[in-house]
Symmetry: C2
Subunit: 208 residues, 2 copies
């Protein structure tokens, strides 16, 4: 898989200081309330330097999480063919990351989110601001509905990673991705496009 | 929830020595190959003492895992009404454990399985020998099919616990169990009773 970002400019110590400060500020304040200025202050550098090193706040966040993917790009690719077959494509793409060299980073991220409250917060912000928003933007899904649908999708995806790559229950641990996409794709498809059950719909209209 | 086992006989140090030895031997050899005799030797006690303290090998295993439930009992209860509505009942029961005082033990178990290879092995043995077998026994499900169906169910259940109780993504973290049972129950139902996709069926018949 192509690495995000390409060249990595700047002094490695300064980069690390910025990434540490970013993790702290993003986890403490949440993505939206975390300003580039606050991160620069925490890292003891000029805000312009962060822009120069990392680009946008989104990109800084993905670097701070050591995310193996940029969800915006991924959603764009998966959405190219619309909803038809989306669930299966998502499972195949998702398993493709975990089965690739980037899978090591993904497992480390999952382990850390489970054992460490701060990484769990970053993961939560990742789901809500990086994944959910880009899906809403690309697909035009109702944001209030998306708030229910995306965490359901997240639960199936993370659980699949857990059973296949961490707890390693056979035969799921060694099944080809296509077999799992055929078995689990319809679940994802239903969570994204199916009728929301009455109990959830009450929640959705209540939150508007 | 009722604690398993009732009274806990014996010297606490001896109990702990047996439980440590059991965790080690079960993780190293797997449930089936781990004999009570080998566990007794590792703990430096007489095998009869283990029977006296813990009863059967199943019960020793559940105690060694600090499992908040006895899957055999649970499957029996859930199966009382047959397949009809099984998926929703399972989700409600599962969330009931995590939302109860036993939820602390469940979260500790999940954390440990993610960070520690030995606990991951115990968890794998738990899924395969405690959950899968009792479901096959109670429901008469084809064992070769169950081997595919149960890990799929496990992936959705563990992922739900992860999103709701560990990473805590809203609104899933605070939705009532009924709403989640309505949304996720059909997934479980399909994994347990739906048609297996062609790609999986090839695997099933291949493994016979």
């Amino acid at each position: 898989m192509k690495r995000r970002g390409g060249r990595r400019p700047g002094n490695p110590d300064t980069r690390q200081a910025i990434l540490s400060a970013a993790r702290e500020v993003f986890a403490e304040r949440g993505f939206d309330a975390a300003s580039m200025r606050a991160i620069a202050t925490a890292a003891g550098v000029d805000p312009a330097l962060i822009h120069h090193y990392f680009g946008s706040k989104d990109q800084l966040f993905l670097a701070a999480m050591n995310s193996p993917i940029d969800p915006k790009e991924v959603v764009g690719q998966l959405w190219a063919d619309g909803w038809d077959g989306f669930g299966e494509r998502l499972i195949r793409f998702f398993l493709g990351i975990w089965d690739s060299p980037d899978g090591v980073a993904a497992i480390a991220l999952l382990r850390s989110a489970v054992s460490n409250e701060w990484t769990a917060r970053l993961m939560r912000e990742f789901v809500l601001t990086q994944v959910l928003r880009h899906i809403v933007q690309a697909t035009g899904m109702d944001p209030a509905e998306a708030a229910y649908r995306i965490p359901l999708v997240g639960s199936q995806l993370l659980g699949l990673a857990l059973i296949r790559h961490v707890i390693k229950v056979e035969p799921v641990a060694s099944l080809p991705a296509d077999a799992l996409a055929a078995a689990i794709g319809p679940t994802i498809q239903r969570y994204l496009t199916g009728e929301l059950p009455e109990e959830l719909r009450r929640g959705v209209s209540g939150s508007r």
